[in-house]
Amino acid sequence: MKRIGVFVCWCGTNIANTVNIEAVTEAAGKMPGVVYAGNYKYMCSEIGQSKIKSAIIREKLDRFVVASCSPRMHESTFRKTAAAAGLNPYLVEIANIREHCSWVHKNKGEATAKAIALIRAAVAKAARDKELWATQIPVEHRALVIGGGIGGIQAALDIADAGFEVDLVERTPSIGGHMAQLDKTFPTLDCSACILTPKMGEAASHPKITLYTYSEVEKVDGYVGNFEATIRKKARSVDLEKCTGCGICWEKCPSRVKSEFDEALSMRKAIYIPFPQAVPNVPVIDRASCRWFTREKCGICRKTCPAGAVNFDQEDEVLQKKYGAIVVATGFDVLDLDDFGEYSYGKHPDVLTSLEFERILNSSGPTGGRLLRPSNQSPPKNVVFIQCVGSRDKSRGKPYCSKICCMYSAKHVILFKEKYPEAQAYVFYIDIRTAGKDFEEFHRRAVEEYGALYLKGSAGKVFPDGDKLLVKGVDSLSGHALEIEADMVVLATAIKAKSDAPQLARLLGISTDTHAFFMEAHPKLRPVEAHTAGIFLAGACQGPKDIPETVSQASGAAAKAIVLLSKENLLSDPCVSEVNESLCTGCLACIKVCPYSAITEKTIEEKIHGKALQRRVAEVNVALCQGCGSCTVSCRPGAVNLKGFTNEQIMAEVDAICL
């Protein structure tokens, strides 16, 4: 007979207020196999745990149930308690009578009955617990960082400084991300390039960092400590080693297309570096617009390159690499304004997104930093800034606040007024949100020192009117309808998740929230970890963020990765699946559903009627299995079973609740 102990936790008043602890303890004491039932105010505290330990010894318990909060909170705590008292840690079950019971019920009688039923199920499961042993799995001491914006650069630098090798994979020809496109940065107005370029250089020259620009991660297999990634280095058509970055090629190239980096406000060549400070300072050939590749004519760059670096025959290179940890820092996109026709964006050249405005302000931008109206190159006198374009807009845009627009709009006002002190800035806003260090002060400067007219309300429509723009809106404080004649209109366009974030999430096996931002493991307590062990999140890919927040999260993600990479071995969870070969029919349904490719087929031999028969069965690789349980539901005869959560145990739980 099993000797089961049950320990009921009050969780202060969290459980005790809604569940009759004494009644539950008494009922638990009478359950089959239970030889001891007790309760305490905080079972997870030192005192609570020592009560469990002494009961194990005094009552000769061979397993126990803790009725408390979710196992996500304290399962590992109580497993350690068991181990400290000499019990195998997998002989512990948690009955969740907090999240599943006291927190979701009001009626004490009903909650008490439910708590008893939950404990009965846990006791039935515990009675069928078997000892399980964790095995050691070695850790690959290298990290992969996906995305080379400021978030990815910071994470790579921190991990590399701790002594681990890092591969930094960036999709575009240069690292830098959106920060490279910005002019000056709030709230200090230091020039973005001035603080970013040294970081980019540091990343490029760090002995532990390998940059893979113009590259993409195509596939990720494996698991924490032992990921295996397939990286495609797209053909640059220029030899990274030979090129000196002299720039003759892109000077001579006759093919011109719109520059992505300048938000299509300027032209670049088919062979190009996206911006002057690009790292690496080696151009790529955009084969879609190169005359050699489209018409097999030209070849000027190859002819003129003094280093002989241009190589039209270069092919994509596909690398397989192993990593212990992965940091995802793929950043954000800005919302497409197709659905916002009322602002005349795309119809009038003087209506710009905020990112386009950044480029126009920027001294390395399309206008060389001269702030002129795109339509006629004249200095603007009145500029209207419209905030929350697509943010906090459930119907057409995003319901969330993009968080950075209030601040960068204030920055835009200041930069504009610095250039044209006599001009006037108007800002349409819903609310002003400046909760950050020195943020409110910064915003007040825009209002008080630079005289920006902040109008609470919405700008309903922007019409072209002669060579001006007419902005119609409502000042909701006074209730007056407004009409402002503007030279330029700047739209603070919402930040959104990268459009391919769901695909990347699928590739990595991590989750996204309803807006396709990557989801953290816990919004408060584990904000830099993904749900999948060994994968960490940094920057705007997890939600709208400014640079300081991105950098802090990147350093946090790096610290978590460093903790992981510093370990020689990880303990593997022994709750993995196993195949009962005598039941397995070899249909291989399980192989198809296993998300970790942990199942393979093998051939076994057995004797039937004296004849040797070979047949195919499934086999679980315990090092790869993550215990997700998908296979167990795909297996019709129930041949594959998850240790610690066996079919027998689950059926016993169901019976305990229902019968």
Binding site: R506, L583, T585
Partner: protein, 317 residues
């Protein structure tokens, strides 16, 4: 039919006497007019007892699961049987190299119950098929009637009367003119939740859990079925409506996406429970959600319930 019978005997004799196969599985006549049984023949001398008649309805391919051949086994397949064979193949339960398949085009077989219902069974000695007609033999003489009036309903909606797979086809291809197979499903779909629940509860309350529907099914090829396993006991033994519902819902889910719609389960059920309607509801849903998929026939397509595509519809929504 006569001709086909001869060709079956010849094929069986040839493959056994040449040593190509070590066993032939076919049909033999029993003592009564409606009895045509599976026969397992290893001696070439006994192949003359094999027959093909309007009652050769048993699907032979599940018997392969019990055999461990050194060489090959020869087997006769009708259209519906061929679909089931393909499913066994797909589930890894038979080895293609270990079987020699003779295909039989079949335009329909006779349901003895329909013969009984017309009263023709009284004193009936033998039934033969002559082209489109059945000939009923009595001591006193014979009577004729259109064959199609006596066919199993599964035959009337058969979409593959000519086997989709075999090594050698015996006989000429027959025309295919199936009735719409989802007609009843659509009717049920239109009914209210209560009506549907009553409909199925009523039917299932008659089930005696003989498991014949499972035993005959080519998609039910597990070494040990969960309904037979003692620990954990998934299915209780008590005659209790919840247990019977559990059996039927689980069985239907287990064959979902693999049911070839051979109609054997519904045919075999001694209580006439319309299992085909349940199976076809799943088939219809799968077709509508994931695109047309014909288990047993579409061997080159991926099984929709075992594949994940990022554009799969969200069924929960």
């Amino acid at each position: 039919m006569k001709q086909l019978s001869e060709r079956i005997k010849e094929a069986a004799f040839g493959s056994l006497s040449s040593g190509q196969v070590e066993m032939v599985i076919g049909w033999q006549k029993g003592p009564l007019w409606w009895q045509s049984f599976p026969a397992f023949i290893t001696d070439p001398g006994e192949t003359a007892s094999l027959i093909w008649d309007p009652f050769s309805v048993s699907n032979l391919n599940k018997y392969l699961l019990n055999e461990v051949p050194k060489k090959k086994i020869a087997l006769f397949l009708k259209g519906c049987d061929a679909l089931g064979f393909n499913q066994l193949l797909r589930d890894g339960r038979v080895e293609r190299e270990k079987v020699l398949l003779f295909g039989i085009p079949c335009d329909g077989l006779v349901d003895p119950a329909r013969v009984e219902a017309t009263g023709l069974s009284k004193g009936l000695l033998q039934v033969k098929k002559e082209r489109e007609e059945l000939v009923f033999y009595y001591k006193e003489g014979q009577r004729k009637a259109p064959a199609r009036d006596f066919y199993y309903s599964k035959c009337l909606s058969c979409r593959y009367p000519n086997p989709v797979t075999c090594d050698e086809m015996l006989g000429e291809a027959v025309p295919c003119q199936p009735l719409e197979r989802f007609a009843n499903v659509s009717k049920l779909e239109a009914a209210s939740l209560e009506e549907r629940f009553t409909y199925w509860s009523r039917h299932f309350s008659r089930c005696i859990r003989c498991f014949a529907c499972r035993n005959v099914c080519p998609a039910c090829s597990c070494r040990e079925c969960i309904f037979d396993i003692a620990e954990p006991r998934w299915l209780g033994k008590a005659k209790e409506s919840g247990e019977t519902l559990f059996y039927h819902i689980t069985r239907a889910y287990h064959v979902a996406g693999r049911c070839v719609d051979c109609g054997e389960c519904a045919r075999i059920c001694p209580l006439g429970i319309p299992l085909a309607e349940l199976n076809r509801k799943f088939i219809k849903d799968i077709n509508e959600l994931y695109g047309e998929y014909d288990a047993g026939a579409d061997l080159d397509k991926e099984a929709p319930l075992l594949t994940f595509k990022s554009d799969d519809p969200d069924v929960s929504a």
